[in-house]
Symmetry: C2
DNA sequence: TCCGTATATCGATGAACGTCGATGCAAGTA
DNA sequence: TACTTGCATCGACGTTCATCGATATACGGA
């Protein structure tokens, strides 16, 4: 099984593949897509993504995320790491604070493969 | 944590929610979306979905799926059950065979919530 | 009615996951 | 330098998951 924190070749997501409903997915493509979906498939991570994306400047620091999420700081930190490793967020440190930002193309590169039309 | 085989209110998927990037997801909506994404977040299940969707008549029986997937029959059966419980497939029995078919709106109701635009 | 075939369910096993408290580490401040 | 604050990492714990072999069930044919 593919691990959640395994490093992902993010560029592969953008260039990859026909929609899943058009032709059978190769084992490799299925694995790559599954890793990214698995990173999304958690309520806390979906909410983190959502809060970051809808923040002003589409950016948020960890300190702003802990309270709304309602989980411990280490747990929030862990989820942010997963989302970053999967290519959905970028991290930038400014002073003591760490700011996370949504990578614009990240979500659509996933949805493109799930399109029905 | 929400379990993978918990029964899902499929109708909720169709009517639900603004895109995740527009406004913060409620805890409940995040949970519902996570369950469906979790059902998708497995290589074997993605390939099953893919094979079913790209079959003639967009339908396939279990016997046609076991060999291409390369897993045991009970495991394939399990994955099909998960996908069906999550509202992605329907099952219809004809004689000894069980045919699975993609529910047309199922995937797009998920992708709609992940849209960036 | 008995047999073979197709599929589902059961029970077990090992791996992965989400979560937390404790701790480490940097950067700013007095 | 010492203290504080923000965040990441570590180690542990209980839960969930993917997978399998064995078994149950249901159907069609001889």
């Amino acid at each position: 099984m593919v691990q959640l924190l395994e490093v992902i070749d993010v560029s592969a997501g953008a260039t990859c593949c026909a929609p899943l409903v058009k032709e059978p997915l190769s084992q490799q493509d299925a694995g790559r897509l599954a890793v990214r979906l698995k990173a999304l498939a958690d309520p806390a991570r979906l909410r983190l993504l959502s809060i970051v994306a809808s923040s002003s400047d589409q950016e948020a620091c960890v300190c702003d995320l802990i309270k709304p999420i309602g989980l411990s700081q280490p747990t929030v930190s862990h989820h942010l790491k997963v989302l970053t490793a999967a290519g959905f967020l970028t991290r930038s440190q400014r002073g003591t604070w760490a700011y996370y930002r949504l990578i614009p193309e990240a979500l659509s590169s996933v949805t493109r493969m799930l399109e029905t039309a």
